[in-house]
Symmetry: C2
Subunit: 917 residues, 2 copies
């Protein structure tokens, strides 16, 4: 254990610095750092974490010379602050706070106003000229001391704090509504009552000696490291028990000492827009809580911020203080190289900075600040990239509600429910309950919100037509959420409070009943569901990139976005591809910067127009001949699709997956639909109904799907291959270059892969020979069931690429159907089985281990095997980090996730490949 | 390449032996071995496989001195046989046959009667005194020569052989029905027509020179190594192309040369019963095919075999030949140390042995022979164990049909279908279509066959009541098959031809319609379904061990069985446990030699009596209180179950799995059942129906089941733990020792295991403290989803044992629902994706790899971790071998599989642990 345990800070002098976080705790290191940088922090000292560790080892005893060190530190504080601890004439008051290596907000204890007693309270009253203030401080201190040091705060949440009870009784006696209504005499009496209850409950006297107060408070803070809340918090957050906490003892300063005192909170830049100007609020003759409490309206910092408003601002009221603050602002940013959120107090025209930390900001602001700071030379591009949360880029893509209108709606009681924010953005429109109505109304030019208990592939056209999707069931990776994200649709799922009645065509929630055709508004960024209309507008980035309704040079936001993406592109080493099934999705993907398609699900095209009829005929064919006839009708349609997608993608690789879902998904299930189809097919409706039933599966996820379809019905794979290569040949003959990559789904063994690969290569050769065209193409496979990863060496002998389908791989590796996980998901997260939904963030311990086995075995058998990911995790930053460390060549995600993936890939590249492989 | 290419055999002299299989091929090595042992084989020689390899390398050329070697070998054959190749006076005729290292039946070519021409045919006629025979041989030889050597056999299956066409035309001309009806002149003319067609089709003359015939035939056999059929066969069976085939040239002998000639087939012991006496059939003046053809009735070998029948036997007809044969029989067994199946020909009172090989036998015979041979000192116990197929032990356990009655029924056209033989044995009874009727009729003392499209847990009571179970859907591991095997019930599943109409209460198949109450018979050993009654009887082993209706000393069969099991128990190193859910199953398991229960599924008890009502109330409870009330009703019932099971198992460990299946499985689904339950519960039927629907899952296999139930509803685990420990305490207090092992199902992470383990240990401590009793117990987990194996190190930190649940582990690792695999299973096996159903034999490459990871990680974290298997594979011999190699402590299987598992475990122990780990 080092010799030095007490670290002074203040008056531009200190023994510590920001690098000493382990020893001084986060808060202590930060205070030292500020003092070091000449920031006027109220003087104080930090007792190091190793004293805490030692304290526990030695049964609550302190190191020998600690007392002496503290005494000498107090003397230094007294000298710096010009007041004396325990001096009735000019009392120095102290705060005593915990401060661990990492923040454990609210878990440990704090004591304020320490040093007050019956004598110093009078000194404080004289010094501040505010007797009421002094006695109120004293009363508060006694309560904190009793609660924290003497452990009088009840642990049972429902039990009342004895001090609160006395306070309330007193207020009732004198008819006071607020604490503020109590007079000096009331407060004096409270102090006496507090003193009595302390003796009664704890059996000890309240100590008048400030030094005794101090040591007891320090001991209490050390003890609070081991209270139940703190222990639980550490266990949940994986913080070792033996880190210990530091104790920070700091001079109190007051912003409510008179007209030349005040307090405020400020940001070094605008946290909403990111603009580089001082931005904040303050109140004169006030304490910090008054600024937040909202009883008095705080004032703007400066003229710029105040604009035309007829209010004072600090720049005018106290120009010299404002000037000092503005200088500090610049030096803080220079020092911390980030936008800071600082708290300050002006005590009798003397400025004190109480705290500074990185300021919270919107996505827009985060990006603007990062970009500006690079331009200002404050940080490097790498730092800018590292610092951002990739998810913040979503804010650039989503339509937004007019904020004023939305708040008004909520104030009016129109909030119906909060669901899961599955597709960020804002949408408003008329309620419809099924895909057909959605399409019909949309064609008529109306914005609609498709409201379903849950969605299925049959709803896809309706989801396309709708402005937004709202479901009452399902989770963040339900069908609705998945498809909505891919489409870039606003979507709220799992809004459980909403009860949907399809027959009555109404929804009920929060006392509000809405019928079909009524307006509803959903905020997919927050999950809020609000009745009635709220205006929205597309984001500027979308207007430039997708809609083409805005010129990039007219959008500062877009240019910022573009610059940032450019930097990320320069840094990242993995490619970013899109999961795109349609030409418009492909175009959007390219606009967002996709370098190829990582997953084109051919079956999503099957629902368009009349195709579904032919798909159904194919499925229901009684023999190969019937199946081939239906397939021959589908061939030209699929060829057209692929033609358009290839065209949109240019020379970029396009990975096309052969038919994957269980055939049952394509069939009609309602009696009248079956009857209609039977009519079209000229078969008996009863026979058809039986056939539909016979295709039902106990566990469709694990049933007859994926390559199992193509192996039993090779003619399906043949048709799809033919469509792909006919389209590719057409374009190649026209002088274009295309790069198809055929991907076989749900492979579990080398033999399955081989059987399908043979079909693909045979048909590809036939088509190319027919057309006299030669096309470079790859054949590869998805790795989405555990056995594929476990036998990846055998599969890679033939497969030219692997694409990890982490949706299904997560389902099979965890043995969890994501459609059914809702029944226990909440319990599992609450009980700590999962820290996060494994369908959102890749389960690196389980699924990740399997992926590593797959990569290792695959590359062992085929050097340089191309490896990607096309599950939902391909657009999720922590999972992208895993892919980088595991040596992936690319990630693939929904078009609208591409900016996020680009930024995450750049961050992953900066993190390096080392740790995981 | 070695110098020696031609290996003579015959006349008690030879250059080869049985160890030279690689060089001489299987047949050649065997002929050499027989010649070596003084067996009178017709003389001949083998051209070694390396000549074939060389032949292909050198474009069809032979080694330099091969011709000379062959000529000198022929001279030796001539000398031994006393005839001359090509000598018109006394022609030696030869056969030319392929013979690879391993048998490739029917894939390569053979030429018989080689050496005939217009001169030697006359010699043969004179020598045999049978002109017709001689010309018929010649005609046949020409056809074989044309087909094989000149490649005239059409490759298209539908095309006719030109020789057959000529033969048929001739028969039509002369009005002959059979080949036998053709006279000498007809045959002579056929020879000329054959000669003409040979020139016409092949462009070459039929060679009169026997030496030319011989070389061409040898070349043809070498060439046939590379024909399409042979290539395909090799690819499918993994036989290397570069092994090559040997060619065997051997003297022809004839059993039809007159009254002192004959031919026969014999077994050195009785292949049906295993009794140690000569057993076989022969015909005088006949060729081998006549014995098999069934036109003439063959005669028994000896007096013992003939019994009271009034027919001649070889022992009487030709006592000296019979004596010679009987001597050969003993020397063959001594030499090959196994029961042999031999073919012999008597040519003019001279005995020739044409072939000997290990004889096929029934399970009974196999075991009796193995035991007898050990007793005779012919083989060791280890050899006896190694040689048996463990599945043969099943024949000791199954009731059997009276064979005569069954054949008669099939002859009468009563065979309705052939399904999958899922539960061996024979059962006959009246048709019922549901569990209730099965129970009702069974109570009335009637044997019933439960006929269902497929079964579900609701049918279990009916399955118990039934004598046999027949389903039209599902595979070898369907619910019906699985439960039937565990119960030891006769069962045929997937009898697709049968169409079941529940409403009409009829089944239709093969033109037969049966109604409810009609008799039906099913043979679970063969899969046959037969209308009407056939008598059955329980096996003697069952009569002794389970029924107690037969004293072991009165059953030779039982004593043989017992002795064999005793040997196996002495050899094996893994323990064998049973999967048993009920006291009667536990008793049966002990009777069969189980050393504990490896899997007791608590939920199987849930369907008994009134329990299901309380189970349903528990599931449908709206809150924890309601759930606890229902659980309190179930507690005493479960306690009783466990009490009885513990009692049956004595000191043996009993592994009890906490609740596993999706709750939905316990609920009623029919409207009237729901209404009835609603009545009992006093709730609205509509509400109940909604509740039942809301519990439905998209993929129940991957849904809210296993420990996920116990984690969301810990009170269920609490109740089950309490029931287990209350029962255990009762017995312990009564002076008995019990060893409960609590097993948590479907664990996917250490945290899940911990949450459930905490509940179990807490409740166990509570109960033991209450009762003042201390019980040794273990808590462990099933490893049945991939993530559990991948994170086995973390799980093993707390878990005291692992039991691999390979049913679910196979489903998740392969991503295949076994309930749905039927749709592609046949295609997959046909196309070679699987060589065998992975739900029957463990997929060692995929699932096995995961198991090895789990074992390694588990034992890495906890030395000596106890490891077992309780999936269906635990009773399957090849999977048991895997368990041995992977270091398992025990296997667990259905009670009725225990004998098989014991034998397989002994075999596995003999194989050793080396290769797999």
């Amino acid at each position: 254990m080092p010799d030095k345990h007490v670290f002074f800070f203040g008056g531009g002098e200190t023994n510590g610095n920001a690098g000493m976080r382990d020893l001084l705790g986060g808060k202590g290191a930060n205070l030292a750092e500020m003092a070091n940088s000449g920031i006027p922090v109220p003087a104080g000292f930090t007792i190091s974490t190793d004293v805490c560790v030692d304290f526990y080892k030695n049964g609550g005893r302190y190191p020998d010379h600690l007392k002496a060190d503290v005494v000498s530190a107090i003397e230094k504080v007294e000298k710096t602050m010009g007041a004396k601890f325990g001096d009735p004439a000019d009392p120095l008051l102290l705060s005593v706070r915990s401060g661990a290596r990492v923040s454990m907000p609210g878990m440990m204890d704090t004591v304020l106003n320490l040093g007050l007693n019956l004598k110093t309270v009078e000194g404080l009253a004289r010094k501040t000229g505010d007797e009421r203030f002094a006695w109120d401080c004293f009363r508060r201190f006694m309560q904190m001391y009793g609660d924290v040091v003497l452990d009088m705060k009840p642990t049972d949440k429902d039990a009342r704090d004895p001090f609160e009870e006395i306070l309330n009784a007193k207020k009732e006696e004198v008819g006071a509504e607020q604490d503020m209504d109590l007079g000096v005499d009331d407060l004096k009496e409270l102090v006496e009552r507090y003193r009595a209850i302390i003796v009664e409950k704890s059996g000890v006297e309240f100590p008048e000696d400030p030094i005794e107060q101090l040591w007891n408070a320090i001991g209490a803070v050390f003890n609070s490291w081991n209270n139940d809340r703190a222990n639980t918090y550490r266990r949940l957050n994986g913080i070792p028990d033996d880190w210990g906490t530091a104790v920070n003892v700091q001079s109190m300063v007051y912003g409510n000492l008179g007209d030349d005192s005040g307090t405020g909170v400020a940001f070094t830049r605008n946290p909403a827009t990111g603009e580089n100007h001082f931005y904040g609020e303050y109140l004169m003759k006030a304490q910090g809580e008054d600024v937040v409490a909202g009883i008095r309206t705080p004032r703007p910092m400066n003229r710029l911020q105040k604009g035309d408003a007829d209010v004072p601002c600090l720049e005018d009221e106290m120009p010299e203080i404002y000037g000092e603050l503005d200088t500090i602002r610049l030096s803080l940013e220079e020092h911390y190289r980030d936008m800071q959120d600082l708290e300050f107090t002006i005590q009798n025209r003397k400025l004190w900075i109480l705290q500074t930390r990185a300021g919270k900001r919107t996505g827009f602001a985060a990006i603007k600040i990062a970009i500006d700071m690079v331009r200002e030379g404050l940080i490097t591009k790498d730092e800018a990239i590292r610092r951002l949360d990739p998810e913040q880029l979503n804010q650039f893509l989503r339509p937004v509600f007019d904020p004023g209108q939305k708040h008004r709606a909520i104030d009016e009681g129109r909030l119906m429910a909060r669901g899961i924010n599955a597709g960020p953005g804002a949408a408003t429109g008329r309620i419809v309950f099924n895909a057909e109505d959605a399409e019909k109304r949309a064609v008529e030019g109306e914005g609609v919100i498709l409201v379903r208990i849950e969605t299925s592939p049959e709803d896809i056209r309706g989801m396309y037509a709708a402005s937004g999707i709202l479901t009452s069931a399902g989770g963040a990776t339900s069908h609705a959420a998945l498809v909505a994200r891919q489409m870039g649709k606003v979507c709220v799922v799992g809004a459980k409070e909403i009860s949907i009645d399809y027959r009555q065509r109404t929804i009920v929630s929060g006392g509000i009943t809405l019928a079909e055709g009524d307006h509803i508004s959903i905020d997919g960024t927050t999950g809020e569901v609000i009745s009635g209309m709220i205006e929205t507008k597309p984001s500027e980035v979308i207007q430039v990139l997708i809609d083409g309704t805005l010129d990039s040079k007219d959008s500062v936001i877009f240019r910022d976005y573009e610059e940032l993406i450019g930097w990320a592109n320069g840094i990242r080493t993995m490619n970013v591809r899109a999961n795109a099934d349609r030409p418009d999705q492909a175009s959007a993907a390219v606009a967002f910067g996709a370098e190829g398609i990582g997953l084109c699900r051919t079956e999503h095209m099957f629902f368009e127009g009349e195709r579904i009829d032919w798909v159904r005929r194919m499925i229901l064919a009684v023999d190969e001949l019937g199946r081939k006839e239906a397939l021959s009708k589908l061939l030209p349609m699929q060829r057209e699709d692929f033609h358009a997608i290839f065209e949109a993608m240019g020379e970029r690789p396009v990975t096309i997956r052969t038919l994957d879902p269980p055939l049952h998904e394509f069939l009609p299930h309602k009696e009248e639909e079956i009857a209609e189809l039977a009519g079209k097919m000229g078969v008996d409706a009863g026979w058809l109904a039986d056939k539909v039933t016979s295709l039902k599966e106990a566990n469709p996820m694990l049933g007859h799907r994926g390559c199992r379809l193509g192996i039993v019905y090779p003619e399906i794979t043949e048709m799809q291959t033919r469509a792909i290569f006919e389209a590719a040949c057409d374009l190649t003959a026209g002088g274009k270059k295309v790069r198809p990559e055929i991907m076989i789904p749900l492979v579990g063994s080398a033999k399955e892969y081989q059987l399908q690969e043979e079909v693909v290569r045979r048909v590809a050769s036939e088509v190319m020979e027919d057309r006299g065209v030669d096309i470079e193409y790859l054949v590869g496979t998805m790795i989405e069931i555990p056995r594929a990863a476990l036998t990846a060496d055998a599969i890679a002998e033939r497969a030219e690429f692997f694409s990890f389908g982490t949706n299904d791989l997560t389902q099979t590796t965890l043995g969890i159907s994501r459609d059914d996980a809702g029944k226990f998901m909440d319990d599992y997260i609450e009980k700590g089985v999962w820290s996060v939904d494994p369908f959102q963030k890749l389960d690196q311990d389980g699924v990740g281990t399997l992926i590593k086995i797959g990569v290792e075995k695959g590359r062992g058998a085929r050097e340089g095997l191309k490896i990607g990911i096309c599950g939902e995790h391909g657009g999720e930053p922590s999972s992208i980090g895993f892919c980088q460390r595991t040596g992936f060549d690319y990630v693939s995600c929904s078009p609208f996730r591409i900016p996020v993936a680009i930024l995450a890939a750049a961050q992953a590249a900066l993190e390096g490949d080392g740790e995981g492989s």
